[in-house]
């Protein structure tokens, strides 16, 4: 990992409360990296949806499985990884929630929201055999995360963990 990348990772239980915990953690990192209120909302929502996906679809809500969350702040962007311990899935097989026949579906909008709210989004096979969501958002222009301590300096990610 490049020395100018800050890295933070945490292993979460497969529990509803992990969704809020992950959102809160990433919001603090995003604020510390200089993102404004609207982008923080989009990042927080995307992390929620990624962890809900891991909790529900990946780990099938099984408490013996874990959710692995990692955040990298590079000079250009904030990158978020959400890895589950499920069986993985093919992004191409996810139904379009905007299709007329799916509009009244009670689920299946999480990936759509992550795609809409982040600059880059992908799902790859993870090292656990599960799915790994990788998504990123470009840092605000003119921002230098190494010197920006506004709104959450206590939650700054650690170097090179």
């Amino acid at each position: 990992m490049a020395s100018d990348t800050k890295h933070l990772e945490v292993t979460l239980d497969t529990h509803v409360e992990s969704v809020n915990l992950a959102e809160e953690m990433c919001l603090r990192v995003a604020e510390s990296a200089g993102f404004g209120e609207d982008d923080c909302y989009r990042i927080g929502m995307s992390v929620r949806e990624g962890v809900i996906n891991a909790f529900h679809y990946g780990n099938q809500e099984r408490p013996d499985k874990k959710i692995h969350l990692a955040v990298d702040i590079t000079p250009e962007k904030m990158i978020i990884h959400v890895l589950d311990e499920g069986k993985g899935f093919d992004l191409k097989g996810v139904p379009d929630p905007l299709a007329q026949e799916n509009l009244l579906s009670t689920s299946g909008r999480g990936i759509f929201l992550m795609r809409a709210f982040m600059d880059e989004f992908d799902v790859v096979p993870g090292r656990t055999g599960g799915a790994e969501i990788i998504m990123s958002k470009k840092l605000p222009s003119g921002n230098d995360p190494s010197t920006n301590n506004e709104g959450g300096q206590n939650a700054s990610p650690q170097h090179g963990a």
Binding site: N20, M45, R48, P97, L104, T106, S107, R109
Partner: protein
């Protein structure tokens, strides 16, 4: 902030005032429980006042859809009132604006049920 929901009568319509976050877990569960109780009491014309709902995730959106379809299947109607910007934008993004009847004025919303 957790979700809270209270309801009041406005003629034949039941207005449900909701506040907080409609998200995975307790928030979604409370909305489901509230709608179920209203239907059990025979209240089938329901106006959800979302003025104080400051956050909703995909689970919350799913719960709104569930509420809508459940009330419709029981022969009733469910409409939305006073969306905050975040909820408004999410419903627009997910094309649910084409599904729900949405109002910004309570009297107009109440009149629409008659």
């Amino acid at each position: 902030m957790d979700l809270r929901a209270t309801y009041r009568d406005a003629g034949v319509v039941t207005v449900v005032d909701i506040g907080g976050r409609i998200t995975l877990g307790e928030g979604s569960a409370l909305l489901r429980k509230t709608i179920r109780e209203l239907l059990e009491e025979g209240r089938r014309k329901i106006l959800l006042n979302l003025a104080d709902v400051n956050y909703i995730d995909s689970s919350g959106i799913g719960e709104l859809v569930t509420a809508f379809t459940t009330v419709k299947k029981s022969g009733g109607d469910l409409k939305l009132l006073h969306l905050t910007k975040k909820v408004h934008d999410l419903l627009q993004l997910t094309k649910l604006f084409t599904v729900f009847d949405v109002y910004s004025d309570e009297n107009t919303a109440l009149s629409s049920f008659r």
